[in-house]
Amino acid sequence: MSTPAAVSSNRAAVPPLSAERAVAWPKRTVKTLPNGLEVVLAESHTFPKISMELFFRSGNAAVAHTSPGLAEITANVVRTGTASRSSRQIEEDLRRMGGELGTHAGADASAISIAGLAEFSSGLLELLADLARHASFPENEFERERRQRIEELKIERTTPGFLASDRFRRVLFGEHPYAIVAPTEEQVAEYRREQLEDYYRRHYAAANALLIAVGDFAAAAMMEQVEKTFGEWSAPQPEPQFVPSPPRHVGRRVYLVHLPGAVQAQVLAGNLAVTRHDRDWYRTVLANAIYGGAFHSRLVANIREQKGYSYSPRSGLNPLRQHGYFSVHAAVRNEVVAATLAEVFYEMDRMRALAVTPEELESARNYLTGVFSLGIATQDGMLNQLSTQYLDRLPEDYLETYREHIRALTAEDVLSAARRHFDSANAQIVVVGDREQVQEQAALFGHLEVFDVHGKAIELVVS
């Protein structure tokens, strides 16, 4: 071979990966205080910052049957006043400590997160404790937040992604509290301030709480400070409540949410699947990565890179505390709704029928293990990983063994997970779009029901 060819063939070879450097998983200092508060601390000294999050193991699911969204508005109002600080005082205290505050509630948990400069760690911690223990729920702030929430809901009801998950969760979970992702405007209008206080009193309790802090501090001294700040706080665990099971879904059904004037269709399909505690968890994670959970996955290669139907199709596992679900979503042009669903199920069925190739298996295992270790390179990433472990009560060595679990998986594991948890035959399908553009295509995939954006059924009259 001539020299230029030799040079270019040299250049053509993909460089191999060099030896892997060991990942040093964060050392955790863990303690449960006598009042029941769990504390997890991890040092991270790269930047002079601290990130903390105080979780309560109750969220909107705890109130879905009485007052949907109550946990969320409680979280919103918590940050607007305490016995000793006005709303403005809180925001100014934050600013002088370089602080960032967030309060929110999901289905299973409520949380107050606070981050700022490490030199103000104790002030930030005190503010966090003040919000967790002495929130005062000022009447005017409550009314302001309530009003803002109503206006936000009006906007959400014009947002395709929201409308899709709102309908999908209702279908998937039926009478189970996870069915409700947001309250109605009427429900928000009925909230009373005392309900928020009551929710706060019962659920923002030491025995129901988990504090995680990551940052530029010495763990031992930090623990002392936490004990000093939170030690006096005693509040019992809320009583567990009975929740109905989600329905069993037999056969594919299609739910069309009619969004007048939509120039694209939002497709969302899936089924009940696994929580992180399920013995199939890791293998389902891997199957999902190969199916549609990564940029190089089959579904993305198919409907984006080959067919150009969609910009960001993805599938995912959603492990809520009591039940998990598997879902796949894509925003596609109106003309290819049926074509997209055909590929979604084709790829699902292929995962169920045939073993993945050794290359795909290797590639997806590397992807998951690599991305997992990237997670500890920032304080927020580390806090995220720790909250997964401790909020979900995963084993002590969860971080250290995650990659071993993934690396041990085989093509048979992937096949069995896909067969059990990619329930193609009984998938529930939601399409959000203009019905005149997409209804006929949607109806090809199962019994069809149509709803307006407020969730009201629209009667079908077929000519």
Partner: protein, 428 residues
């Protein structure tokens, strides 16, 4: 370090965790895309994932993902970037891939058609099929600016996207995607000498390109306030965007502007949010900011206001003007400025550490290093810029407010909800 072909190389070792973040930044953004080809810079960015000399379609993505890493690219006003975060044992592989696509793209008509379709769905999902989609970043420029590079539709008109050809792709690549128009950044777990020698090995023989032609992006002087309206097809509320053009990069006023921005915006303690949302309760939301560090041309500080339906957009603008007037007339004091500076410092560290979600470590550090390298020829400014902000005085803030927060330096765009017909009844 600068290679013989003009490629700038910046390395920032950090051995705290076994990852590396690598970026290649080209000094071309949507401002400089060719006339009649709106949206082309972004479409082109997609083409950079479609295959290069030795790595075919999907190979870039597969090789990075299967090395345990993540990748992406973004198109901005004055830069387009391509970046990866990977375990540190994949550094060499990433450099190989980036060099391969800097040397030669290998794309065809089918790739172009495919990505044109993908981009159209991107525009639909982010703009055309979302309430307030593209508000205000696509709404303001055509109202605020007069010179096409600053004033056109950056995501692209579909007719322009359809008109793009493979020849356009080749020409654009030749003109702007040369090593002398780029900077390579490596951050994370490596020995800097090794990293530099790897960079040399893979990039040194990428041929230098022509000096890129740079269109004139200056704006004619503005005298009057500029206004525009855009219909909002989905959202129920009107929305107001107010943009003030910022001082030129690197001037004393440019640093002061960053501080002034944070006095006005900067979360719930910022004056705009406090007055409009918390005190007067005219608006559901009021927020804003200015992207100063990563732009190199006419740039605006933008405030977004969503007035409650019982207040008119004029009332909201009036309340906003009250805030502006107060700053211009009464200025600020140390008791406000000092905590603002603490917050600036905290936010700067957070940005350097992450900046694009917790899974793209040091994205912000990379982004700023690249901007300082390309626009100022001095990546080291990443270490000194905070001092410039911290040195700003109350008097400087007030005098800048009087100079730039004036009607003749601003543009206002209103998103106005369209009246929709009553929902149609049952299907026929």
């Amino acid at each position: 370090m600068r290679l013989g072909n003009g490629l700038r190389v910046v390395a920032s070792p950090d051995r705290s965790a076994p990852f590396v973040t690598v970026g290649v930044y080209y000094q071309i953004g949507f401002r400089l895309e060719p006339r009649g080809r709106s949206g082309f810079a972004h479409l082109f960015e997609h083409m950079m994932f479609q295959g290069s000399e030795n790595a075919g379609k999907m190979e870039h993505i597969r090789l990075i993902n299967s090395s345990g890493g993540l990748l992406n690219g973004t198109t901005n006003y004055d830069i387009t970037n391509y970046f990866e975060a990977v375990p540190s044992n994949a550094l060499e592989r990433v450099l190989w891939l980036e060099a391969d696509r800097m040397r030669a793209l290998k794309v065809d008509d089918e790739n172009l058609r495919n990505q044109r379709d993908v981009v159209k769905e991107e525009v639909r999902v982010n703009v055309m099929n979302q309430p307030y989609g593209g508000f205000p970043w696509l709404d303001l420029p055509p109202v605020a600016f007069r010179n096409w590079p600053n004033a056109h539709n950056f995501y692209g008109d579909f007719t322009d996207l359809d008109a793009a050809t493979l020849d356009d792709v080749r020409t654009f690549f030749r003109m702007f995607y040369a090593p002398n128009n780029a900077v390579l950044l490596m951050i994370g777990d490596f020995d800097p000498n090794e990293a530099f020698s790897l960079a040399k090995r893979y990039f040194e023989d990428v041929p230098r390109g022509p000096e890129p032609a740079r269109a004139d992006i200056s704006e004619p002087p503005q005298r009057e306030e500029r206004r525009g309206e855009v219909p909002e097809p989905f959202g129920p509320l009107a929305a107001v965007a107010i943009g003030y053009t910022m001082p030129p990069r690197g001037t004393k006023d440019w640093y002061t502007a960053a501080v002034l921005d944070r006095i006005l915006h900067g979360g719930r303690a910022g004056r705009v949010h406090r007055r409009l949302v918390l005190e007067k309760q005219i608006a559901v939301e009021a927020s804003g900011g200015a992207d100063l560090l990563d732009t190199n041309g006419p740039t605006q500080m933008v405030t977004r206001i969503f007035p409650k339906p019982e207040f008119s957009t004029d009332e909201a603008i009036g309340a906003f003007d009250g805030v502006i007037l107060e700053l211009a007339l009464q200025g600020t004091k140390a008791e406000e400025l000092d905590p603002v500076k603490v917050k600036i410092r905290a936010d700067y560290y957070s940005m350097l550490e992450g900046g694009m979600g917790s899974y793209m470590p040091r994205f912000g550090l990379m982004h700023y290093l690249a901007s300082f390298a390309l626009f100022d020829g001095d990546p080291d400014r990443v270490n000194t810029i905070l001092d410039k902000y911290l040195a700003v005085t109350p008097a400087e803030v007030q005098s800048l407010a009087q100079k730039i927060l004036v009607p003749g330096n601003r543009a206002i765009v209103i998103r106005r909800p369209v009246e929709r017909d009553a929902p149609k009844g049952a299907a026929r």
